[in-house]
Structure formats: C-alpha cells, structure tokens
Symmetry: C2
Subunit: 117 residues, 2 copies
C-alpha cells in the first residue's frame, strides 16, 4: 500500500496546521477535516499528533488559544496564528524548497511509467 509515510510529514505537521490558520482561527476537529479534504484523503493526521502540535506551538508562541462561544456541545478550543507563527510558517516554506531539492537529488523518477503492482 502506498500511502504517505508520516515520518516524512513529521517535520511539516506544524507547517500544515499553521497554513490552515493563516486566514482564520480554527479548532482541532475542523483542522483535521481540512487536512483530510485538502490532501484528498491522502493524509489523515492522528488526533494525538494534532493536539500535541497545538500544545507545542502554543508553547513556542506560534498560536494562541481561546474558547468559542458555542453554547451546546463540547466546548471548542480555537487557535489563532500569531505574527511569530506567520514568520515561522513562511520560513518553513522557504526551507521546504531547499529540502525538497536536496531530497530529489537522491530520488529516481521513473519516466517510463511502469506502474505495475
């Protein structure tokens, strides 16, 4: 089965989450849905990974949390990206380009598309 390995994503989970917070605050469950949808189902982040990322990023000052005012249901914790978070995000984007280029020096792309299996 060829899914994507979360080992690769590892260094980019924070970036992915921050991307989804760029335009407006959001909360865990919604973000996980958005990741799934945007990746066309190819990447489904684990809940524990997601929430531990929130904790880490809040500690780092990349996001801040606040409570929504929904009255019913379990109370949501929303997260808003900070300026520091924005800066970090765009740095990671630059880093991605470099990293991608490095990795691709070691990757052989099959041009004759023999996709058996």
């Amino acid at each position: 089965m060829t899914g994507i390995s979360s080992d690769v994503i590892r260094g980019y989970n924070d970036t992915i989450i921050l991307y989804l917070l760029l335009e407006e605050p959001s909360y865990g469950y919604e973000i996980s849905k958005k990741i799934k949808n945007l990746s066309e189902g190819k990447y489904v982040i684990k809940e524990t990974t997601l929430y531990s990322a929130f904790t880490r990023m809040q500690k780092n000052g990349y996001i801040v949390s606040f409570y929504g005012d929904e009255t019913g249901g379990k109370r949501r914790t929303y997260y808003r990206i900070t300026d520091s978070g924005r800066t970090y995000y765009f740095e990671k984007c630059k880093e991605w380009v470099l990293t991608k280029d490095v990795i691709e020096k070691f990757i052989i792309r099959e041009e004759n598309g023999n996709g058996d299996n």
Copy 2:
C-alpha cells in the same frame, strides 16, 4: 540559518543511503562524503544517524555487509544493496512524489520569479 531540517529528512535517510548503494557497494565514511557533496554541502548526515541506519536496514534485509580487503587503515564495513532494498528504494521514490504533492498543498510559494520549470 536556512539549513534543511533533519526532521524532514528523517523519513528519507534510508532512501538517500540506498540511492548511493544502487550502483556499487560503499561504506559509511564514503557515503557521508557523497551525501555532503551531492547535496552541495546542504545536508551533512550525522555519523550516528548513518550507522544506525545501516544497522536498521541490514536488519530489514535492505542491505548486507561485508569486509573490504584493504590491508592498512581501519577495517571498513562495506554495504551492498539487496533486491529487497532496491524494491524498497523505488517504492520510497514513488511515495516521495505523493508526499511532496500533499505537502505542497500547504506551502505557499512566493513566486516573484517566472513559472518556468
């Protein structure tokens, strides 16, 4: 700064090493030099990371080790890629394409340049 984070490479160290073994067997020190050179100094793998990758991959059957016959100097442990290792390598290459596409959905590229390439 602007190095590449090894967190990203994490899932691809094995792939990088296997790539360098595709054509001929090699050993730790040489591989680390090759990685440095091929990446134009952008990625220098840590020794411990490299040798622990050897151990892991040998356990997984992706490589086999043998001793070189050099008479002087410290004895080298050479590694040769196995068929299983080759298969794994090419799977990781395919996976890379998928993973790269997924990550790029969450990356904003500043495109002041041309859309060439």
